[in-house]
Amino acid sequence: MSEHEVAFTVNGEPETVSVEARTLLVHALRDLGYTGPNVGCESGKCGACTVHLDGEAVKSCTMLAVQADGREVTTVAGVSDEGLDAVQEAFHEEHGLQCGYCTPGMVMTVEAFLEENPDPSREEVRAALKGNICRCTGYQNIVDAVQAAAAERRAD
């Protein structure tokens, strides 16, 4: 069973790690101490493990760590240099979370979504978050948070 050296950047930091071929990206990240992406359903449905790979939102449980070689990975801890960014702040202000397990994945999907659609309708927000499941909030406050973050980013 082959072992591989993976050299990539995580939140701007260069990292090199030796992994078994079967190691999933989410596990490699967590073993390195990047515990933003959570392990939820482990089957590509819940989105708790969402990270950015070269700027695009992907599910890190459905990708091998070795496939990240040479790529740029961003976790929720990498979206802001200092404090909370507009999306994180809005989830806090609008109470867009209860237990918080889905939140790192939600934030990563929303960051990419708002880049593409800075002024989304509620329907568009719900469609964008189809791959991120929350079992606490009923989504109302999450949609509120995304719209508040969008307004905040437009104002900046």
């Binding site: 069973m1 082959s2 591989h4 078994e20 071929a21 079967r22 999933l24 482990e42 089957s43 590509g44 449905k45 989105g47 969402t50 790979l53 695009e56 939102a57 992907v58 599910k59 459905t62 990708m63 091998l64 070795v66 496939q67 999907t109 990419a112 979504f113 964008a128 189809k130 791959g131 991120n132």
Partner: protein
């Protein structure tokens, strides 16, 4: 859930990928991974070698020429969606999986894996797509009609790689689905493509996914449309068009239910395809 151990190879050309596959007892090609890695985690398949196609750039790309779409097999759903003209293909990409899956899943992977309820196989059937496969013996083109089986298999041989898909233009096409809320696959989905002469349907191709394990043409619906029936009357044939002995029953829906909802979905998709073709 962890996949069992395996060796990993990342060739940079199709020839190297085919050679790597031939050298191993039980190798698997990895594209976007949303079918293969999930199956490996569930223990349904355990290849000794995973051959990652991600480094083969020539398998990516989209060309659109007068409505005909040629797609490299490794093209992701999201990059094809940027170029796909309005019609069945664009509809399917719009409703496929979710944002993260569309960023990583591939067109060729969807067609080659042919999961039950997958969205692109019925679009390939309805539009009359041609699929190009390469093996160490050479290249061959297979019509979608001969590529899939109702049982959910494809005719790809062991060690053969799907490299390109061509979706031909038509006058109007569409895809609609009843989405399973957790998996994102279609409980049932129907695609239709029509050509029109003098304001009437000259030819119609209609195909369903989800009702039985593989994609199937709805031939009764097609003949009724070609015979001048309206969408509602033609769609009434849909439940009888799928092989009754293969209907899928699982905790989400019975086979009987799946067959029964084919009718309204067939009506909707035919109506949409006819509207796009300018027929009322």
């Amino acid at each position: 859930m962890f996949p069992a151990g395996f060796d990993y190879e990342a060739p940079e050309s199709v020839a190297d990928a085919l050679d790597a596959h031939a050298e191993r007892e039980n190798a698997a090609f990895l594209a976007g991974g949303h079918s293969l890695l999930a199956e490996m985690k569930r223990g349904e398949t355990a290849p000794d070698t995973v051959i990652d196609l991600g480094g083969i750039d020539r398998l990516r790309g989209v060309g659109v020429d007068e409505g005909t779409v040629r797609v490299g097999a490794l093209t992701t759903y999201s990059s094809l969606a940027e170029d796909a003209p309005a019609g069945a293909l664009a509809d399917a990409l719009d409703h496929l999986g979710d944002r993260q899956i569309r960023n990583r899943g591939t067109v060729g992977g969807n067609l080659a894996a042919c999961d039950a309820g997958a969205d692109l196989p019925p679009v390939a059937l309805a539009t009359g797509a041609t699929l190009t496969a390469q093996s160490r013996d050479g290249e061959r083109n297979v019509d979608a009609d001969n590529f899939f089986t109702p049982g959910g298999e494809t005719v790809l041989r062991d060690g053969e790689l799907l490299t390109e898909i061509e979706f031909p233009a038509c006058d109007g096409s569409a895809y609609v689905k009843n989405t399973h809320p957790a998996s994102g696959y279609a409980l049932v989905g129907v695609s239709a493509a029509v050509t029109v002469e003098s304001g009437a349907v000259a030819s119609a191709r209609v195909a369903a996914t989800g009702a039985v394990p593989g994609p199937v043409r709805l031939s009764g619906v097609e003949s009724a449309l070609e015979g001048g029936a309206n969408a509602e009357d033609a769609a009434a044939h849909a439940p009888d068009d799928v092989p009754a002995d293969l209907l899928r029953s699982d905790p989400h829906a019975s086979g009987e239910y799946r067959a029964s909802v084919l009718e309204p979905y067939a009506e909707r998709v035919v109506t949409a395809a006819l509207e796009r073709a300018g027929v009322r």
